[in-house]
Amino acid sequence: MENLGYLAVLLAFLLSAYATVAALAGKLRRNPFLELSAQRAVLAAWLMTTAASGILLHAILTDNFSFSYVASRSNSDLDLLYKVAAWWGGQEGSLLFWSWIAATYSFVAVYTGRSKHRSMISYVVAVMAATQAFFLGLVAFEANPFQVIMSGPQITSVPDGRGLNPLLQHPMMAIHPPMLYLGYVGFTVPFAFALASLITRQPGERWIHTTRVWTMVTWLFQSIGILLGARWAYVVLGWGGYWGWDPVENASLLPWITGTAFLHSVMMQEKKGMMKVWNILLISATFFLCIFGTMMTRGGLVSSVHAFAQSEIGSYFVWYLAVGIALTAYFILTRLDYLRSEAELESVVSRESSFLFNNVILLASCFAVLWGTLFPVLSEYFTGDKITVGAPFFNKVNVPIGLFLLFLTGVGPLFAWRRTSAESLRRNFQSPALAALTCLAALLAAGMRHFEALVCFSLCAFVTTTVLLEFYRGGRVIQRKQGANLAAAMVELTRRNTRRYGGYLVHMAIVLMFVGFAGAAFNIVHQEEMSVGDVIEVGPYEFQLQNLSEMDTPNYFRAVAAIDVSRRGEFLETLLPERRFYHASQQPTSRVDVRNRLREDVYVVYAGQSNDGASPVIQVYINPLVNWIWIGSLVLVIGTLVALVPSRRPRRPRRRRAPRLREGSVATAGD
């Protein structure tokens, strides 16, 4: 089996390399047979990668502990879900998983886009297959998951594996990495289309439409991956927070930020033929930041709790990045004439300007995160001292930038395309500004004095009013015309322009998340050594330790503390935080228990035991508004899905029929 698995990886690598060369040679020599052959090699590479993945998965599921990877990442008592998760739980398996996703994306992108983008599909194949070949090369020659345990010349096996890292044994961890990988790897597709369009000097806007849709899909996956990771950190790591500004967390955020900037600025290109160089730079930066993030996780550039074991593969990533960036820069510089803007800005107070501002702020935020992440490397290089900046630095730098971005989220839709008159500006700003000021006054009257939280909540009111007014005004027009009720009219409005109103839903999601982030300003934390019957008071709550229980399972030993939670004397519920000790890996972890409410979370951790082992140490966190982050996450997913659905165009009367669109152009719903 191990030989078959390795053979499949090797063949997939060779097929991907062949697809790259054949696609380029076919295009340059105008040989359609070679081009077709390259496309078929993509399919064959996917089949081989799928076969290799199937063999590894089979070995994990059947507890084949002669595989070194299986022995080190799984064990016989592991639940089925976590056995599957063991596929991406280690360096070698995760690289194979990555390669399989890349192969699947290549297969889907090539076979859905080959007739639509006939003139550039070979370059798309070349870019995607080259990336795939790179990762398959790493699997084949540096991180082989099919290595077996040898005893002299004989293959042997161990009685049981060491098991999956206990921190990864959580349902969220079965979904979070695949989502993140779908995001990371997925950005290869829009990058490949963008680069191919650049190489072929693609006319028309059809390729932009394809690139934008792929970007939105992968952006959605990346968003889900990041948010699931935050939720996992919140409920598993047991430190009361959801984002620690860890280098690996930051690595996932960087391409998300540039991808977000691209999704905004690409509208300028679609609608006005502007910012072409900028868009190519953004999508390229997004792709290279994905590769850079992967290098950080695996190459040992920075240390992180999420990183895989440090290995030698970092240098391969450096080379890949260097060559990739150099080639992209070459194509951009030699095709500047093709990237020339078709229109220019007419006013600072316009929708175009707001997109520009939005991009500048997003890039500043991206730089701030990158700067902080690389600060240990830079400080060591320049001063000799390795200073790893943490949450205090990131929060101080990113909070003002984030608030400015939130402001722009509300301001953007209030501006018209081209230019906004003073009268229109006054009319559009009136209600949102009034809402923001009312919110500010109410919070001040209620006694809130935290400056950043006050600004944040006021801006949230501003943006919410903007978004609601957009829906209301559009809905009223349809309501008057069709006589439907306002809610139905708003649904119809959204269906007519899914991209625009889906986008507004995403803006609302961001508002909800900011409400959750602002709540952190009022977190309360307390820690106490408790005996059975003891009561502690934290904020308005009382916590009484009722009992302690222990239980042994085949996979782990667990100690559970039953804690009654009351609020001003009224019993609410019993929380059951626990500590686990995993037999296979000999590692302890904590499982928090949380009382989730819209107002605040009561978050209880069984942190350990006192020196004499008699009393548990209980940590209590009161985290206000944190649930709005998860609600915002759901709204973000819904909003993006809405934006991905094609708009339903209303029938037009004959006399007002619009002229036919030019060939190669795409009718885009406005924003």
């Binding site: 430190w239 700067w371 630095f393 309360i524 619009a658």
Partner: protein
């Protein structure tokens, strides 16, 4: 099988129990020290059991605060003893200042560049509008867009 005895933060708890240093305060200060046990968190947030790195630092911070030393002095003593890698913020030197200001400097440069670009574009657009008609291609696009928007209103 019972796990090995789990001991945790004995001194911290003793301090908290005596009420010498409130836990929230201790945590706030300890969150300005990077834990080097491999957890990637701060000494205040490290949740590793029997952390060899966290416990002595918590003890030192607790003793310092209890003795009435200012936070900054307590932290500087920790950084001095355990090395600059325990800092979670850039230090107060030239490179540290660069660390703090670089993101904002980039933001300022970006905004300034944007304003310059917009001004240049506006000037060029104004000059062109005086000398040249709108190209047919652009005109066709706008007409199409207007028709599109009117269609939506109906």
């Amino acid at each position: 099988m019972r796990p090995p005895a789990i001991s945790l933060l004995a001194l911290l708890l003793a301090c908290s129990a005596q009420g010498a240093v409130p836990y929230a305060k201790l945590r706030q200060v300890a969150d300005l020290v990077s834990c080097q046990c491999g957890c990637s968190y701060t000494v205040g947030s490290c949740n590793m059991l029997n952390c060899h790195f966290r416990d002595p630092i918590l003890q030192q911070i607790s003793e310092g605060l209890e003795a009435g030393e200012p936070e900054e002095a307590v932290l500087e003593a920790v950084y001095e003893q355990y090395g600059p890698e325990t800092r979670v913020q850039p230090r107060e030197d030239a490179f540290g200042m660069l660390g703090w200001t670089a993101p904002f400097a980039l933001l300022g440069v970006g905004l300034a560049a944007m304003v310059l670009v917009v001004r240049r574009w506006r000037a060029r657009t104004a000059a062109r509008s005086e000398t040249r008609q709108v190209s047919d291609r652009v005109l066709e696009r706008y007409r199409s867009q207007i028709e599109d928007d009117l269609g939506k209103l109906e």
